[in-house]
């Protein structure tokens, strides 16, 4: 939990700058400066009332007594809970230490222990509203169609299946049910022995894909979400070839290239996951995403693995370029907690 908090703090700081800029553009000049609070391990940011997030709304300016607020007050025993109110007379004692992050956006989603009908949810919300904190881990099967005929060197089908894992974190929650989650992940592909070029005894393509992604998802039903996803990363690809016959020669080519994937899909999950605060509930589900991968073509060359004793220079054939762009279908089984 404390580790998660540290991650949250780091991500929060990153969001802070953006939120500052955003707030500066939206808040009237006459508004008093934003009060700050200390965000502690015991008080998830999600439970803080949206007093700053919606300054234009009189209703939202009313402080809401809540467990979280009480706990915050406990951290500052001399301050009443209404120190979060947007007033220019806020006592100086309420200022947090310099190193402490400031809450700029609060969770619109009620946490466990809150009344779902409580006015903690803004009626006129800002664009960026919450730093949520749920972690999502997923086992992914990413299928990319390699429509290039040269892929027949490695597989009899056009389908390139990549297995991998990814971790996501619900960083931003937009009002209206949108959540933006960055992801980090890795997948591995392996294909060998296609029908093309039977004079090669070994035809192996292996790749490791490391990526980061942003997923924006929207709750459609308690068990169903829709999402869009933009992924970018690097692919380390290795092609191993070997001739057949009396003398077997080994050829190996490595390649490193960026790749991008854009997709959209649905999430089907256990229905009550969003009702629990992060870390205290476990949601299971699967994702289905259709998209398109864009990546530079992979040059296929017969680079000799060993040239010991070679006295005469060798010109090896260029087997052309294997297109790595194509439609994709990603299937994921995930847990979110």
């Amino acid at each position: 939990m404390s580790m998660k908090f540290e991650i949250s703090s780091a991500l929060f700081l990153a969001v802070f700058a953006f939120s500052e800029a955003s707030g500066a553009q939206t808040a009237p000049r006459a508004e008093p400066p934003e009060p700050s609070v200390v965000l502690t391990d015991e008080v998830p940011a999600a439970v803080a009332p949206p007093v700053v997030a919606a300054p234009a709304s009189p209703a939202s300016a009313t402080p809401v007594p809540a467990e979280g607020a009480a706990t915050t007050a406990a951290a500052l025993p001399n301050d009443p809970p209404d120190v979060l109110a947007p007033t220019s007379e806020a006592p100086k004692a309420a200022s947090p230490p310099l190193s402490a992050p400031r809450v700029i956006a609060l969770n619109e989603a009620p946490s466990k222990g809150f009344d779902a009908e409580a006015p903690a949810k803004s009626k006129n919300p800002r664009m960026i509203s919450v730093f949520k904190g749920a972690v999502r881990t997923s086992f992914d099967v990413n299928t990319v169609w390699d429509l290039d005929d040269r892929y027949q060197l490695f597989d009899s089908s056009d389908v390139n299946v990549r297995m991998g894992v990814s971790v996501g974190y619900d960083l931003l929650s937009f009002d209206g049910g949108w959540v933006v989650a960055p992801e980090l992940g890795w997948s591995h592909e392996s294909a060998s022995g296609g029908p093309s070029a039977p004079q090669l005894s070994k035809k192996e393509l292996m790749g490791d894909h490391f990526f980061g992604a942003f997923r924006a998802r929207h709750t459609i039903a308690s068990w169903l979400e829709g999402f869009g996803r933009l992924q970018g990363g690097m692919a380390w690809t290795r092609v191993d070839l070997a001739s057949s016959g009396a003398s077997v020669d080994q050829y190996s080519t490595s390649n490193k290239a960026p790749e991008f994937q854009l997709g959209a899909g649905v999430v089907v999950r256990t229905p009550d996951a969003e009702r629990a605060p992060p870390g205290e509930s476990l949601a299971l589900g699967f994702t289905l995403e259709a998209g398109y991968q864009v990546a530079p073509a992979l040059k296929l060359k017969l680079d000799r693995a060993a040239t010991d004793g070679q006295r005469i220079s060798v010109l090896t054939s260029d087997l052309g370029e294997l297109s790595r762009s194509g439609p994709s279908l990603r299937l994921g089984i995930f847990t979110r907690f």
């Binding site: 005929d149 004079q199 090669l200 016959g245 017969l302 090896t316």
Partner: protein, 536 residues
């Protein structure tokens, strides 16, 4: 509601479904290549397994890429198209494809391939497995071989297809299908005459050899019937002639035939005849004559101009000189038995004038005999000179294209085992022995560079015996990185090169620069090309 197993089963099932829906590409068969052939500046590799040819360009900057050309189904045989002179070389390869019995659109065919790709494709009526070209490369006869085991239910061994390679394919006129009439036996071989003047027209004849029957076919008028000539009466128990060799006297319009089992030479005189308004009748008539040679006739050669036209015959211990006009036979006892004749224009150590002379030899022996043919009928064995050398297995004539009459007159005799080769100077009648560490299986004469290339199979070395200066025969060699499989010469091209192929399923060959013989050892100018048979 959702079990773990269900979660895992969904993507797996979807992935399987996706795989099943995907398309699969064209499957290739394992490659099996015919022996490579050389055009003037391209090497041709024919993949029988996948019905394609690879054309490797060796003319300019070298790249390890070969142009791939689709061929008709099942190529089984390929030949370089012949020519009498480099200037007339059409620079083409002829490929015989057997077609596919199960596919009606895939019929047997002859494909003419040049460096640009497929030039023409001639459809054939039967799945022939053998082809013979005229020496000038104009005509091609496609036939069944003696060993044909065609998978067709029925086929006629006497059926041939005749193609005029200078003419485009035409379903009615090119090729022409013919059945050569015989006397119950299939044709053994086909020989083409040089252009003969018959009735004021230049004609070429195809001479179809049976065991003791010969058929003459006028290639200019394939609508006319062939002449079928029985050389000896077929009778039960009578020995067969076993026709082996045909020579043409293009001045006298005579055809000389020799059989391995006959003591006689058969001469067919082609005489013109008048034919009025009968386009389907031959305008010439053959007449048969028989020259008594005696003994077993092993080889024959024509020399001299009329009226001094003579036929030299190797008949074991004797050589026969037959006057083509009078049929007078002169027997010349030889110092050693000879079965082969090599005519050459050259000098002798005694006479410094260029005359027609003959080298008589017998493979597997250790002697050769020089025969001066001038006045031989008078001087007989006094015109014979024996030269003793190591036992030899091959005699390779070396005819340089450069130098003309002043070019050295030499032959190479390949010896068995580690004895290497001997270079015999035909003018001086001297021998230079070139020793070798390996058995020189074959030498490849190079008329352009005036030498012999030696590339023993599965050795890492290629050698060149430079014969341009008989006083300085310097063998050169180069060590390659891989064992040799085949050697192709591109020394007639503007950029003279030699291609040495190596054993690799992907295609591997070393290109040696051969502008000068001294280039050989400069390995910095050599390059190995790899992977050119992988295709697109």
């Amino acid at each position: 509601m959702f079990s773990i197993q269900r979660f895992f089963s969904i993507p797996c099932l979807l992935a399987l479904g996706v795989s099943a829906c995907s398309s699969s590409g064209a499957k290739e068969n394992p490659s099996s290549f015919l022996p490579p052939l050389g055009l003037v500046d391209h090497a041709v590799f024919i993949d029988q397994g996948n019905d394609r040819a690879f054309l490797l360009d060796l003319s300019g900057n070298l790249t390890p890429h070969a142009n791939q050309v689709r061929l008709p189904k099942a190529p089984i045989l390929a030949q370089r198209r012949l020519s009498l002179a480099p200037a007339e070389d059409p620079d083409e390869v002829l490929i015989l494809s057997a077609g596919d019995l199960d596919a009606t659109e895939s019929v047997p065919s002859i494909t003419v391939l040049n460096k640009q790709g497929v030039k023409w494709s001639y459809k054939l009526a039967a799945a022939f497995d053998s082809m013979v070209q005229s020496p000038n490369g104009r005509y091609l006869v496609v036939k069944f071989s003696q060993t044909n085991v065609s998978n067709r239910l029925l086929f006629n061994r006497n059926e041939v297809a005749i193609i005029d390679l200078n003419q485009e394919p035409n379903e009615l006129t090119n090729p022409v299908d013919r059945t050569i009439r015989g006397f119950g036996e299939p044709p053994e071989s086909i020989v083409f005459s040089p252009p003969l003047m018959i009735n004021g027209e230049e004609r070429q004849l195809a001479v179809v050899l049976f065991k003791q029957v010969v058929a003459l076919l006028d290639l200019k008028y394939l609508n006319r019937p062939e002449f079928t000539i029985e050389l000896a009466a077929s009778s039960v128990g009578a020995p067969s002639i076993n026709l082996e060799q045909v020579l043409f006297d293009d001045k006298e319009n005579k055809v000389y035939l020799r059989g391995s089992a006959s003591p006689d030479i058969y001469v067919i005189q082609i005489a013109p005849r008048e034919v009025q308004n009968e386009p389907n009748k031959n305008d010439f008539v053959p007449s048969l004559n028989q020259l008594g040679g005696g003994g077993q006739l092993k080889d024959m050669a024509l020399y001299g101009d009329a009226p001094e036209r003579r036929l030299l015959v190797a008949a074991g211990a004797n050589a026969l000189v037959i006057d083509a006009d009078s049929n007078r036979v002169t027997s010349i006892p030889l110092p050693v038995s000879a079965t082969k004749i090599l005519l050459f224009e050259g000098r002798s150590p005694q006479v410094d004038t260029r005359e027609t002379r003959a080298l008589l030899y017998s493979l597997g022996t250790s002697d050769v005999v020089f025969l001066d043919l001038a006045q031989i009928e008078d001087r007989k064995q006094r015109n014979a000179e024996r030269l003793k050398i190591n036992s030899y297995l091959d005699v390779i004539p070396l005819r340089p294209t450069a130098g003309g009459a002043s070019a050295p007159n030499q032959v190479m005799l390949r010896h068995a085992g580690l004895l290497g080769a001997s270079i015999v100077d035909l003018d001086k009648r001297t021998v230079n022995a070139v020793s070798s560490q390996v058995d020189l299986k074959a030498g490849t004469p190079d008329a352009a560079l005036n030498g012999v290339w030696v590339a023993p199979s599965y050795q890492n070395k290629v050698g060149f015996i430079d014969l341009s200066d008989p006083n300085k025969i310097q063998p050169k060699e180069v060590r390659l990185d891989y064992p040799v499989v085949d050697l192709l010469l591109f020394t007639q091209a503007a950029h003279k090169r030699v291609l040495v192929t190596h054993d690799s399923s992907l295609g591997r060959a070393t290109v040696l620069e051969a502008m000068e013989a001294t280039d050989l050892r400069d390995l910095t100018r050599a390059v190995t090309l790899e992977g050119f048979l992988l295709g697109e």
